[in-house]
Amino acid sequence: MLTRRRVLGTAGAGVALAGSGLGWPKFFQAEAAGAPLSPGVPAGLDSSAVMATLPGKKPLIKLSYRPPNYESPLQYFRTPITPNDQFFVRYHLSDIPDVDAKTYKIEVGGDGANGQTEITFDDLKKFPAYEIAAVNQCSGSRRGLSSPHVAGVEWGYGAMGCARWKGARLKDVLDLVGLKPEAIEIAFNGAEGPAFDKTPDFIKSLPVWKAIDESTLIAYEMNGEPLPHFNGYPARLIVPGWTGTYWMKHLISITALTKPQGGFWMNPAYRIPVGEFPIVARFITQENATSTPITEIVVNSLITSHTDGVKVKVGHNTISGLAWDGGYGIRTVEASTDGGTTWSAAKLGDDLGRYAFRPWSFQLAAKRGKNTVMVNATNKIGQTQTATLLFNPAGYHNNVMQSLTLNAG
């Protein structure tokens, strides 16, 4: 059914490894080769991507072992909440410590703060707790589909997931020290580090307005459980609506700044050309004449019930999938079976909140032979997916409408 699909008969292996030591991952290669890759990714992945199981995870598509970059295959996106053991894994740096919640601390301070302090894991849990369902999508999700291809981790559709995140508001934690009026950004660091000391540490910042948004959390629970090691245990930043680069894992420092955060990961990394995308949420203190930081997720959808070229039955078939955006909420998902000439509304499923995956479905009356299906999501501020790729050098923001051909007969 899936292109290059292989059977995932490896559940026992993941369980057996789940209790083993973390830190340097104990790798288990579930299969010698073959993974359900998204159509259009570089051919080099045909031989190098495999289904592999990290401790505590179900098999994921291994793109790189070190640092670990593993994406979720399409079949893990058939529910609007992505289970923790099916959630993608993305790291920039390969020295990933096994953080002990008992000794874990977050430093809070900076020249833009009135004071400094540190909070323990227990302290974090004493703040008022909030829970929000939100999509975490890697900035580079679908980079592998860029045409022409661009260098980087060649993600297909699956560098994303949606979970219920529970934690303290970042705003409440910042209130412990208080922000000076001249504070412009809040910077974050995580416990992981580079393999070599000359490699820039992964440090990211947010504009103050986004940092103190009531939806921005320091989460210690994911879908009602502690965060998995590979998703940022014991606590990570949750920045609903914005791409995953800001969702600092293993969060250990929060620094209020009166000057823009520098460093490779703020510039030149994670940038989009000024004016190319219909972005509302801007990061002004980091913007220059030609580039600006990637911020909010563009409106998008994914057909998760079928893949291109599969067989369906003549007559009624349910086509289903997910839609999401940067937090404005999904207004409509429309489907076209005539190449985009006419469109009809799909049925929207449960609304888990404006930052969550929104499920949808429609009935395809398949005629014998080839049937083309296109899907386009529109959000509540009227933004839609694009018909053709808006190319950019880092391969970000690919929300091209899918077009699948299904064979009935």
Binding site: F27, S94, D95, D197
Partner: protein, 93 residues
């Protein structure tokens, strides 16, 4: 956050793969030893396979330069040249 001293880096360079990490076997050819010793010190070699075959010689050269300039990889000029040549020949367009 955790920083390795240069001595540890040298040890890592001698053992490019972390414990339990499956070996990524790249195509044989002149320069492969330098790719394994240098590139493999900081990342698994599947990054190279994944980014193929769409970069030309200039594209691979830019990637090697990025590893040195942006990521601080201590690669000598001679090794960088051999690495870029290997990548262009075996994983280029």
């Amino acid at each position: 956050m955790r920083i390795f001293a240069i001595a540890v880096f040298v040890a890592l360079a001698a053992l490019p793969a972390a414990a339990d990490e499956p070996t990524v076997q790249l195509k044989p050819g002149p320069g492969l030893d330098k790719v394994e010793g240098n590139c493999g010190a900081c990342h698994s070699l599947d990054y190279i396979q994944m980014n193929s075959p769409f970069l030309n010689a200039a594209g691979w050269n830019a990637e090697v330069t990025k590893m040195i300039k942006a990521f601080g990889a201590p690669i000598s000029d001679a090794d960088a040249k051999d690495i870029a040549a290997y990548l262009a020949k075996n994983y280029g367009t």
